[in-house]
Subunit: 280 residues, 2 copies
């Protein structure tokens, strides 16, 4: 049997955090405590959990977590005012607005209000554009995590066929852009794609970012493909059918313990990088 | 022999201009003359020709052409000040900085200085990001022209395999984004792509945007492909080898007379749209 690599997100994440710890200490010696502001609107339990996880991850590393919890009934305008206050707060280095916000709020407008310098979660169209054109500073965290895993495990990208399944603004689109900028030939597939398995059968690198549990089948893959599963469906289930994909792949991220933990580390990394800019 | 469609850019362009003429008259009745400012830096003869062509196309339609010619020796800062003056000029509705600028100037920084409201040439990263995320107002003109031709000739896009050869910030990347947003499955190829012909052999829609004369061979294409050639190489030669591609394709843009004339019309269209916003 061939050797398989389980792409261990916990390990990558630990490595990233070790590096960040030193940088936080150095900042501290210069009198700066990195600070991430998180905004939660309403009481969706999973959103609350995500925000809490992110806040806790910050604090464990010595990053200040400024947690703002707004009532579900607030208006887009009030949310934007809150964001603008954070934009103007010199002690805040990163702003995260937890997705999704209640339906009556214009989420896109709220995202766009985040200052590019503090858009550590990579949600603004300006941040997306800069990333896609090759000079972005804080790409969306899940795409950044995928690239971090690729780099940690020295997975070759240049000249490879990469197929991204999904085209959301914070996942499928930016990860397609990042892979393209690293010289992969990138195909972006989605719900309207005909014959997805045909595309996947040519892919050296597969990014699953579609939000459908166990959707990608091993039988669709090329022998030896690298599978990066950014899916995170209820019950800790990925977008790739793990067992069958594991059989075909040369390397694969598990769910949980793959892309997820690294995503949070990217948020921390971006927040620290933003804080570092204030002392340079 | 099968029927072939020559995708006639002159015809598409004429149609667009007819529509714009009425809109310019309407604006005029409201006391507004649309105005495009063009900035030419230095004396590159082809750049000078392009700028002149664009200016003349404006005037023919009743759009004011404000032509600014700067010395090749100016600094990035001076260029940016010029752009900012135009940003602040209420009578200017669109700003075009002719690419390329002399090597000592930071062209990207200059592009980024253009106000999004006046970025009718679609060169800013913010404009690119908005376009890619699906709410851009002025995509780059050549990608917009390609979509205009597709729409004029009712070429189906949804669910089709589109292969874009090239990944420049104002052509390959944005046209990939526009096709993806129209529900094509999009593969972006480039100089590091291995086996381009394999990708092209699956493509229903091919966009040639690579800047190499006669590069795309008909033998690489799928029978019945639609070929949109955005190449414009010295001697009026496209990126697709016309005769062999014509044989294979169901529809093809010639060079000259294909994408080129529509590109200029898109610039005019964006400028008029920007002027219309000032009276709404």
């Amino acid at each position: 049997m061939e050797e398989k690599t389980i792409l261990d997100g916990q390990k990558v994440s630990k490595d990233v955090k070790e590096n960040l710890k030193e940088r936080v200490l150095k900042l501290s010696a210069q009198g700066v405590t990195p600070c991430l502001a998180t905004i939660l609107v309403g009481d969706d339990p999973s959103s609350a959990t995500y925000v809490r996880m992110k806040g806790n991850a910050c604090e464990k590393l010595g990053i200040l977590s400024k947690r703002i919890h707004l009532d579900a009934s607030i208006s887009t305008e009030t949310l934007i005012e809150t964001i603008q206050d954070l934009n103007n707060d010199k002690n805040v280095h990163g702003i995260l607005l937890q997705h999704p916000v209640p339906a009556h709020i214009d989420e896109r407008k709220a995202f766009e209000a985040i200052d590019i310098e503090k858009d550590v979660d990579g949600v603004t169209s300006l941040g997306y554009g800069q990333t896609a054109l090759g000079f972005g500073v804080y790409p969306s965290c899940t795409p950044a995590a995928i690239m971090e895993i690729i780099d940690f495990y020295d997975i070759p990208v240049e000249g490879k066929n990469a197929v991204v399944v999904g085209r959301s603004p914070i996942l499928g689109k930016p990860v397609s852009a990042l892979l393209l900028n690293r010289n992969a030939t990138v195909t972006t597939c989605h719900s309207k794609t005909k014959d997805l398995s045909e595309h996947l059968s040519k892919a050296d690198i597969v990014v699953a970012a579609v939000g459908k549990p166990n959707f990608i089948q091993g039988s669709w893959l090329k022998e030896g493909a690298v599978v990066l599963d950014a899916g995170y469906n209820p019950g800790n289930i990925g977008d790739a059918h793990y067992d069958s994909c594991y059989e075909k792949a040369s390397a694969i991220t598990p769910v949980p313990g793959g892309v997820g933990p690294v995503t949070i580390s990217m948020l921390l990394k971006h927040t620290v990088a933003s804080a570092e800019k204030t002392v340079q």
